[in-house]
């Protein structure tokens, strides 16, 4: 395997953007390229993740290329997924030896539409989408399955939020933050029972960009390269009623295949849009109670759809690069009740 390092990362998240997608992405991509130390034309490959459904514009992902520069013609690809999966494609392409470096970017602006309706289009088009369940509803159904099975408690869910929102106070990219006691949170009304507002993602608009480089070149470019030591993604069956919603087998397999459990990790950055999902993910991926999870505040602090997974990876990498930890697990999750899970293991030089 070729060693690949994350050498730079930039993101922006805002509650509601008036800028268009190109204007959101341009400064973020420029910042990541500049911080990488590479000139734009030295980056071999460009790969992005986004969804045209959020913009309501066919081929919106092509128009976003204005924000990253594409002349002379570049080698480019796109996935209709969180940017974390675009990073996976770039990493695989580097493994083939065809390229040595890549710019990965993603963006999501959900504020123009009704995210609940748009996400219902991800579900089974014959038997589920015609009923138009939003993700808050299907996640609430999962939460109640977990509560009924005794796998989580409402108090534990509130503890996740009560820890994430103060953590987010140090994160300039968080859109929801503050100090709350578990009792205060439990006293709030349900928004989609048994979920309360703070159990649900802090939806935001934004963009993310990252540069990865293979081998010794990465060591020349930064003081402390953050190496990708393991990388895997897996998927569970699509039918919600077929899955045991208290389990996330795809997350467990991805973590094991990525080698996350082989050695101790100093912290984890994971994509848990709903508070109960953090508890499930911890258990499935073997993250011990003593390991700090989501020092960024995670999705409860800012959840830019299509970018949040890549943000978790970038947040973890920047934390290691600054010397705050040596080995971390980062995770991206997508789909109804976290159907798709991706795990990456990062290690500082």
């Amino acid at each position: 395997m070729r060693d690949v390092a994350i050498v730079s990362f930039a993101q922006s998240n805002a509650e509601c953007e008036v800028r268009n997608e190109v204007e959101i992405l341009q400064p973020v991509s420029a910042e990541a390229v500049k911080a990488s130390g590479l000139a734009r034309d030295e980056i071999d490959f460009t790969c992005s993740g986004s969804s045209d459904w959020l913009q309501g514009q066919p081929f919106a992902f092509v128009m976003a290329l204005d924000a990253v520069g594409s002349w002379p013609p570049i080698k480019e690809s796109h996935v209709e997924q969180d940017g974390a999966w675009a990073l996976y494609e770039a990493w695989v392409k580097i493994q083939t030896g065809e390229v040595d470096s890549a710019l990965i970017y993603s963006f999501g602006k959900t504020s123009p539409g009704d995210i609940g309706q748009v996400q219902a289009l991800q579900l089974d088009p014959y038997c589920v989408t015609p009923l138009w369940p939003d993700f808050d509803s299907v996640s609430a159904i999962q939460a109640r399955v977990c509560l009924t099975a005794g796998v989580v408690t409402e108090k534990q869910m509130a503890q996740v939020a009560a820890r994430s929102m103060p953590d987010a106070c140090d994160n300039p990219n968080a859109v929801r933050k503050g100090e709350f006691s578990v009792e205060e949170l439990l006293a709030k009304p349900y928004s989609a029972s048994p979920l309360r507002d703070h159990d649900c993602p802090a939806n935001s608009d934004g963009a993310t960009a990252m540069v990865v480089v293979a081998g010794d070149r990465a060591k020349e470019l930064c003081d402390r390269p953050v190496w990708i030591r393991g990388f895997d993604h897996r998927i569970d069956p699509p039918a919600l009623g077929v899955r045991d919603l208290t389990r996330l087998p795809s997350a467990a397999v991805a973590a094991a295949k990525a080698g996350a459990v082989e050695d101790k990790i100093d912290f984890a950055e994971i994509t848990a849009p709903y508070s109960h999902q953090e508890i499930l993910l911890r258990r499935e991926m073997g993250i011990g109670d003593d390991v700090r999870v989501n020092p960024s505040g995670g999705s409860l602090a800012a959840h830019t759809l299509m970018s949040c997974g890549l943000n978790r990876i970038g947040d973890a990498a920047m934390r290691i690069a600054s010397g705050d930890g040596d080995r971390a697990l980062a995770h991206a999750g997508q789909g109804p009740c976290l159907q798709q899970n991706l795990v990456i293991v990062l290690e500082g030089e």
Binding site: Q26, P27, G241
Partner: protein, 284 residues
């Protein structure tokens, strides 16, 4: 109706392949119609497309005889306290059924359900398609530079963005130079006259276009810009349209102009000599 799988029992709705082994499945079995609520959430403010327009529950329902559960809705008359795990429910059918999941209007408490309507037996024709109406609304924000462009159209001006370094002007401005990704904060006015660099004659109707068929769409390179601009050509015989011809925007009267390209009604030919192909071939 469910389907029997080798590894997961009877699955409802039926799936074509076993979720674990991918074995093709074909053993259909009757299930329900009654069942048990496995989990639910309460929807207090239904969205427009959702099946009921008063509060209801989305629920996972395990139908009698099934091993997986079905996602559907439960109608308890808007009273959330009537929902509980393990409650018995049965379908309330629509009077007119089409072979769609929404033929079940909602599940209701089993005691309130009426007997299932007679099954129209013997129809084994494959269902070739179903229709799910989709209506998504967006509050589109044009962005910073395009907003300036649109506001200028309301005043009868066409603006472009000058590339950093100044050699090219993009119309409309989008916020960045597509070659280099540098921001393009400098906006300049370009002419409303230009040269046709390509065209197409439209003979098929389109719902939201009022022009009489056939009509001509053009890509016009406005004087002072470096990207062709898309619009419609009028007041020109079809066989007179040609590459290189000179045209000009026909604007709405000033008090009717709005923040939209519709402020330009169309382009029309003007009495200027054609531009030689060599001079615009890069833009075709």
């Amino acid at each position: 109706m469910g389907i029997r799988s080798g590894t997961a029992g009877v699955l409802v709705p039926p799936v074509e392949y076993d979720p674990q082994t991918a074995e093709a499945l074909e053993d259909f079995v009757d299930v329900g119609p009654g069942g048990e609520v496995i989990s639910y959430t309460w929807v207090s403010r239904p969205r427009p497309l959702q099946p009921l327009q008063r509060p209801f529950a989305y629920a996972l329902i395990k139908l009698d005889g099934a091993d997986s559960s079905l996602l559907h809705i439960v109608d308890v008359g808007g009273d959330a306290v009537k929902m509980e795990i393990g409650m018995r429910v049965a379908p309330r059918w629509k009077a007119e059924r089409k072979g769609e999941i929404t033929d079940i209007e909602a599940f209701v408490a089993e005691g309130e359900a009426r007997p299932a309507p007679p099954v129209l037996g013997g129809d084994l024709r494959p269902v070739k398609s179903i229709i799910t109406p989709v209506r998504l609304e967006y509050d589109f924000s044009a962005g910073r530079e395009q907003s300036i462009f649109l506001r200028a159209l309301a005043t009868g001006k066409i603006l472009g963005a000058r590339s950093p370094g100044g050699d090219l002007v993009y119309v409309p401005p989008r916020g960045a130079d597509p070659r280099t990704a540098e921001p393009t904060p400098e906006l300049v006015e370009v002419s409303d006259k230009g040269t046709v660099v390509t065209y197409s004659i439209i003979r098929v109707p389109s719902e939201n276009i009022d022009f009489e068929l056939p009509y001509v769409c053009i890509n016009v390179l406005l004087d002072g810009s470096d990207i062709p601009f898309f619009h419609v050509l009028q007041n020109c015989e079809l066989d007179a349209v040609r590459l290189g011809m000179r045209v000009r925007a026909k604007w709405l009267p000033p008090d009717e102009r709005v923040e939209s390209v519709e402020s330009i009604q169309y382009f029309e030919p003007i009495d200027e000599p054609d531009v030689p192909f060599e001079d615009f071939k890069e833009y075709c």
